[in-house]
């Protein structure tokens, strides 16, 4: 009932625009000039709400992202591409008399396509389905090993020895052909769990967001996406990706209550950024 009160006069489009501008203001950038321009434009639109429905605002944001990042095309993270596509979509939707409706179509497609493509990469990867990627990540990647050592699944000594093995492989001359990593008991099971859990979740989200809306099962598409955002971004320190997914989720959901849930996820991503990644 409290949530119903919150959603009483909720303007979904305005909320989506505000969240998008906030995210773009907070996001990191390769280039200090891009970051500076983006902060000025987005803050202006946040302070002067009428600017949020002006086409030129979103065209400018799209151009700053697209032109500014083209030099770093193979260096920028994938969520930055979503920022470019989303700002273009908002610009185009403002030409219509049903902005909310067209934003919904664009957001749904972007979520469905990005998850489908991610699923296809994993299917065709030489080292995903055999568990290699997640086993490697559990044994060597600082982010996941911190999480695992917090739960005493892998010790700091083992992590250190594995990092030294990789360091030796990279810096020794002549280049050794291979180095053996230490694999504690139980890590393989966890790696397999992440491997199959991850790809199954992506497949479910992709399917529910791309299937025709007339299929009743698509009504439940928000729930696997909620779960994905909550779980994955605890471990993967890509709060910006979780944030843009929350915004796209907000834009495409049919339920006003789910708009609030996506807003909470957007806020949760900021908490992850500050608390989890600084203290873990």
């Amino acid at each position: 009932m409290f949530l119903d009160k919150l959603t009483d006069n909720l303007d979904k489009t305005k909320t989506v625009f505000t969240a998008t501008l906030l995210l773009f203001t907070l996001s990191n950038s390769y280039d200090i000039y891009i970051k500076g321009l983006m902060i000025v434009v987005c803050m202006a639109a946040l302070l002067i709400p009428k600017l949020q429905t002006v086409k030129a605002t979103w065209l400018l944001i799209f151009l700053i992202f697209a032109v500014g990042n083209i030099r770093h095309y193979l260096e920028i993270d994938n969520h930055k591409f979503l920022y470019i596509y989303w700002s273009l979509a908002v610009f185009l939707c403002l030409f219509t008399d049903n902005v909310e409706g067209y934003l919904k179509i664009n957001a749904k497609l972007m979520i469905g396509l990005s998850f489908s493509i991610a699923f296809i990469w994993k299917l065709f990867s030489e080292d995903y389905l055999n568990g290699s990627f997640f086993l490697w990540t559990c044994l060597t990647d600082g982010r996941l090993t911190k999480f695992l050592s917090f739960f005493h699944i892998i010790s700091k000594d083992v992590i250190e020895q594995n990092k030294n093995a990789i360091h030796y492989l990279v810096y020794a001359a002549p280049t050794p052909y291979y180095k053996q990593l230490i694999q504690p008991h139980g890590v393989n099971f966890i790696a397999k769990f992440f491997t199959y859990g991850g790809i199954i979740m992506e497949a479910i989200v992709a399917a529910l967001f791309l299937l025709p809306q007339k299929l009743s099962i698509t009504r439940y598409r928000d729930y696997p996406l909620f779960l994905f955002i909550i779980i994955v971004y605890i471990i993967a320190p890509v709060w910006e990706f979780g944030s843009i997914l929350s915004i796209l989720g907000m834009a495409q959901t049919d339920s006003k209550r789910n708009v609030i849930y996506y807003m909470m996820l957007f806020l949760l991503m900021q908490l992850y950024r500050i608390i989890l990644f600084h203290f873990l």
Binding site: W86, L88, F95, T96, N106, S132, Q180, A236
Partner: protein, 155 residues
Amino acid sequence: MNQPLPNKLVKYLASAILIVVAAIQFYLSKELHVSPWKGGGFGMFSTVNSTNSYFFRAYSFIPDSSEKFWVIIPAKYLSEEDHVRHYPFKNDLQELRSSLLKEKWVILNREIINSEADISHSGTPMVITDIDLEMWQYKFDAQTSRVYSCLLLKL
């Protein structure tokens, strides 16, 4: 800027660009050693092959000697190395190699170090006329828990 746009353009243009960029990244990664982790392909968390998995080896023959020495790439080339990790093409590797050939080197313990990087060593700086520069990648085998190296590019 107030003319209405065709509905299909509004609905599908952004997503169409998404698909095209992802397809390009798929091709670059399969054919040209580009990491799937970036470039709008959404291939992150699908493979060990991130840009961190690429590393470099440089060798040279000192003048009047048939022995091959290992060249330590100075720290000031970290950003150039990082560039080649993201753009693992022969031209970009060649640019790094050309920059290294402009440096002066001193020999230390069967290695060659850039004389500007380590001025505490005495020795006559020399110019090298040729450097073999290699780009390697490490991969991981879950069956054996071994990380092994593969040669990707060589100049």
